[in-house]
């Protein structure tokens, strides 16, 4: 249903329903909370990026000449902690999930709006603890906090960093709790499970992981803090403890955590691929089951991070086999996105460009994960740049790209403005080129034997490192551009109609931006998801003046 663009003065929406700082800091509107998260998450993204920049600068030359080894240890630790706990895990659920899930299911808000606000405040407390940790001199254990290094042998700010992650973890748990209850209890009449957008399914699966996995790392962190303070010995071999127990508890969460990061991105890609192919998703049920499958199987594979740490050979065999299984539902998703595009009417706006990038880059990242699942290869490439390249392909080439895709796709809904399409395409190109130039050389470096977490390396590795750093600068420009033009669009962007993309989904049935309570009237759903056979092509959106 195409609506003519409304070019008028200030329209009543959630953005101007109330004014003043208090109306934002004490809001319970899920859309405003999403924006609060957007600001803080972007802030932490650039902090994590700043550490990455320093890492890549150091690695321009083989000698450890920019920073000393101790400081370098802090750089990669802080980069990991900030990016994982304060960007990758919350970003899509807390920004796009918060904003869109009630809209997509036809509800007025999440089930627990005040808990939603509490989630954001917990995130901010955790973030403050993280900033304190950085300013107090940082922490150098690696983001993985391995014991007994973290409990017995380092004098850096381990406890404050651990506490930051602990508090951020509870923010994540509460978000997951909110989503699960919302999706079960708040769906509009007619919005059955089989009509849910796959974005919602993806967040449901993500929330299951958040609820069941995060508490385990929380208790692991508590035990590390207690051990550090009281010298208990739970993870200290000298006192009969086992460092691997920490690793078991840590990775029981931290492996499923990577699925917390990627599943929402997959949800985004499903929405975008359908819209820009003007087609219903191929294999809706399989896609929904696949996200659930990834969530469940994802809990069965954690010790593949411990193959060379000292677990039993038999355990290693079991975990290796299970790790192969987790690739299956992901592969199903890649096939189904491709099949969706087949004979679709494809257009190449910025969100779709990012979606294409996601599918390709995630596939490479995922396949290299299978390399790592093989015990023989893993022994060779563990703790090398091969692993670093693998997880950056899925996390950056996958999740960050999906996040950008989603931000572009839903920006008109969130802000009421169109971003400039030409700049969007340019930024997407820069991100794609920059990303591959940064991380593909790292596969080669790792395979050739360059270890990770070292600030100096043998001279024969330099040329690939220089390429990688060059790529990182291009990538940085690609990331900065959307910051600039999204802000620009708030003032000068074309006014967005309710449904500029002609997309399916309840969120497009209300105004851009939506009113405070989402819908003028309670929606009642009588149609199937992705009913692109019924939705006409979008009208031409007026260009910004």
């Amino acid at each position: 249903m195409a609506t003519a663009a409304v070019v008028s003065g200030e329209r009543e929406s959630y953005l101007n329903a109330k004014y003043g700082l208090k109306s934002w800091l004490l809001t319970v509107d899920h859309k405003r909370i999403a924006l609060l998260y957007l600001i803080s998450i972007t802030f932490f993204f650039f902090i994590g990026g700043f550490f990455a920049l320093l890492i890549r600068l150091e690695l321009l030359t083989p000698a450890g000449d920019l920073v000393q080894a101790d400081v370098y240890n802090k750089l990669f630790t802080m980069h990991g902690l900030v990016m994982i706990f304060f960007f990758l895990i919350p970003a899509v659920p807390a920004v796009l999930g918060n904003f869109l899930i009630p809209l997509m299911i036809g509800a007025k808000d999440l089930a627990f709006p005040r808990i939603n606000l509490l989630s954001w405040y917990l995130y901010m407390v955790g973030g403050t603890l993280m900033i304190y940790t950085i300013l107090a001199g940082g922490v150098d254990t690696g983001w993985t906090f391995y014991t007994p290094l973290s409990t017995e042998f380092l004098n850096t700010n381990v406890i404050s960093a651990a506490l930051a992650a602990f508090v951020a973890g509870f923010s994540s748990i509460l978000t997951g709790l909110n989503f699960i209850v919302t999706i079960h209890r708040m769906r509009a009449p007619g919005m059955t499970w089989n009509r849910l957008p796959l974005f919602v399914w993806a967040h449901y699966a993500t929330s299951i992981i958040q609820i069941l996995g995060t508490p385990v790392v929380a208790i692991a962190i508590v035990l590390v803090a207690l051990e550090r303070l009281l010298h208990l010995g739970i993870f200290n071999p000298a006192l009969g403890g086992d460092p691997l127990l920490f690793q078991h508890l840590f990775w029981f969460y931290s492996h499923p955590a990577v699925y917390i990061m990627i599943l929402p991105g997959m949800g985004i890609v499903s929405e975008i691929v359908c819209c820009f192919s003007r087609k219903r998703i191929f294999g809706y049920k399989a896609m929904a089951l696949a996200v659930l499958g990834i969530a469940v199987i994802g809990f069965l594979v954690w010790a593949h991070h411990m193959f060379v740490a000292g677990i039993s050979l038999y355990a290693a065999l079991v975990f290796s086999l299970l790790t192969y299984f987790v690739g299956v539902p992901s592969a199903i998703k890649v096939f189904n996105w491709t099949a969706t595009m087949y004979k679709g009417s494809i257009t190449y706006q910025t969100p779709m460009l990012y979606a294409f990038a996601f599918i390709g880059l995630f596939t490479i990242g995922g396949l290299t994960g299978l390399f790592l699942a093989s015990l023989g290869i893993d022994v060779h490439v563990t703790d090398t740049y091969f692993v670093v390249a693998h997880f950056h392909y899925v996390m950056v080439g996958g999740m960050v790209v999906a996040y950008l895709a989603g931000m572009h796709f839903w920006w008109p809904k969130i802000s009421g403005r169109m971003y400039p399409e030409g700049w969007g395409k340019l930024a997407a190109l820069l991100v794609f080129v920059g990303f591959n130039l940064t991380f593909f050389p790292q596969f080669v470096l790792g395979y050739m034997g360059m270890p990770r977490r070292y600030h100096a390396y043998p001279p024969e590795f330099q040329i690939l490192n220089v390429l990688s750093t060059a790529g990182a600068t291009i990538l940085a420009v690609g990331y900065l551009l959307p910051m600039v033009y999204f802000l620009w669009s708030l003032r000068y962007g074309a006014i967005a109609p309710a449904n500029p993309w002609g997309a399916a989904g309840l969120e497009w049935q209300t105004t851009s931006p939506p009113p405070e309570f989402n819908f003028e009237n309670q929606p009642v759903v009588t149609w199937e998801a992705y009913n692109y056979d019924e939705i006409p092509e979008p009208e031409e959106v007026p260009v910004a003046h």
């Binding site: 009449p189 059955t192 029981f252 954690w302 038999y314 355990a315």
Partner: protein, 106 residues
Amino acid sequence: MANHFPNEAEATHDHISSVGSSVAIWLILLVFTGLTVGAAFIDLGPLNTVVALTIATIKATLVVLFFMHVKYTNEKLVPLVIVSAIFFLFLLLGLSMGDYATRVWR
């Protein structure tokens, strides 16, 4: 049908516990507590732990079904949440112990 929220048909009809049944469950729980203490002093070999945990599980089940009213809900969602939590807990315990139990140190 179209105007009903999807889950109201499954809504929990709130059961009001009777005093009698609550007291009965309470007494059974106390009896099992005494049993588990008593059994601890009898030599059952490796079965001691099994018996203790079995009794604990019976007690926990009684609390969940009767005190927490799970027996009286008609929708399957709450039992599913409970079973899921227990399943994932067993994953954590089982697969971790799988490592420890198969380590052969020379």
